[in-house]
Symmetry: C2
Subunit: 242 residues, 2 copies
């Protein structure tokens, strides 16, 4: 079966292939493009990690459950992101359940043996993966720290800023087709705190309507958020502003 490639969402346009053009030629035959509808399960927690997943379009939530029944959202992935890195390691299992959020999620999957073989023979690819993992450690640590250093509305603002990353100023409309309670859980807030935070961002020109978020002035939002962050001056969001 040949991958089902749409012109606008070709896997080759994903940052992983963009930064390793030769990789695409090596893996193209093995890559599978898959489509998911809202709430479709992609992989389950503890399943054998059979592939590395690249998000081409839409949103994916990564979640887990504790034995005593609490569910937590540990990740939200969108266009350009990667999940399922457990596939890079032999005999590993996915450490979370992944589900599609929103109407249309399009993913490319590179089978585990294929990506492992490439990583083994391509030093620049393994450097890329190490650097990606290292960034991910940094982001998780930062999120942990922001629970103590930032207000809830600053944390919501930081999440929105990260989605504007390629745009340094001016206004922007984001499309976030994720249920509010999931987004609140991801940001470590109760739903009522999340609603209050939305209200608190209004005077800064952040208006939410359905799954659309209008940001009137990215610079003003950055000013509100970044003063309380220890990455201030070295995060991608700020790099974009330079």
């Amino acid at each position: 079966m040949q991958p089902n490639i749409h012109k606008q969402d070709q896997p080759v346009s994903h940052p992983l292939f963009h930064s390793h053009p030769a990789l695409w030629a090596q893996v193209a035959d093995a890559v599978r493009v898959k489509h998911f509808a809202n709430d479709d399960r992609i992989v389950s927690h503890s399943d054998e990690a059979s592939g590395l997943w690249l998000v081409l379009k839409g949103w994916v939530t990564l979640s887990r459950q504790t034995p005593d029944g609490k569910e937590t959202i540990i990740g939200l992935c969108t266009e350009g992101d990667i999940f399922g890195e457990a596939a890079l390691f032999p005999n590993a299992n996915y450490p979370y359940t992944a589900e599609a959020s929103g109407k249309e999620t399009e993913l490319a999957m590179i089978p585990a043996p294929v990506i492992r073989a490439q990583v083994a023979k391509n030093g620049s690819l393994s450097n890329h993966i190490m650097s990606m993992l290292s960034d991910r450690v940094g982001q998780a640590q930062l999120k942990l720290e922001q629970i103590n250093t930032m207000s809830a509305s600053q944390r919501l603002g930081c999440f929105l800023l990260r989605l504007c990353v390629t745009q340094e100023s001016g206004s922007k409309t984001l499309h976030i087709p994720i249920e509010k309670n999931i987004l609140a859980a991801y940001l470590g807030m109760k739903p009522e705190t999340f609603s209050r935070s939305q209200q608190q961002l209004k005077p800064l020109g952040i208006l939410v309507s359905g799954d659309k978020v209008n940001i009137e002035n990215i610079s003003a939002l950055r000013e509100f958020v970044c003063g309380s962050c220890s990455e201030s001056g070295s995060c991608d969001v700020e790099d974009a502003a330079e």
Copy 2:
């Protein structure tokens, strides 16, 4: 200058060299062993990442400050741990300040160009580093999730259990020469919550006296902690019990 190697704390006994015996021969001449007293600064946030650090003995706190003056403890490293992975990447800076905690901290430092050259030519080493970074992502995500799924005393219990990792049951005495407010900050608690959590662990046979912590019954502590954790069944702490 030849490294100052103590018999009992030879860098070669660190897990990194233990799992890559050939690596030691390649880097031994370049490795520097350094000693630090309590509160000595090891590296500063934003310094050029000039080396990868291995903890041979003692404790190291990793911290950051926000522009508006809040300090957060983002990591605590002890014997067998590694920090300063930024040194694996060209032109990177340390994303935190590292300071010694307790009377005697002994570290081995592998200069950045030396470890980078080894990683570039040794696929098994770069796999080890990827796997270490991937574990670290998992641990940070787990910590984030535990803020929502566990009580403060369960989080303190989980921290203690991880320090017992090589011992599956019975009793144990841990030596944790870290100020309580630092430990509380690392666990995301106010100092008074930390004190209350210590009290709540007493009926489980956890007794704190100065910088010593006596754990009467590791299995009982595990039972108290792990039922509220989504890694239950797949974490090192539990592996030890199998």
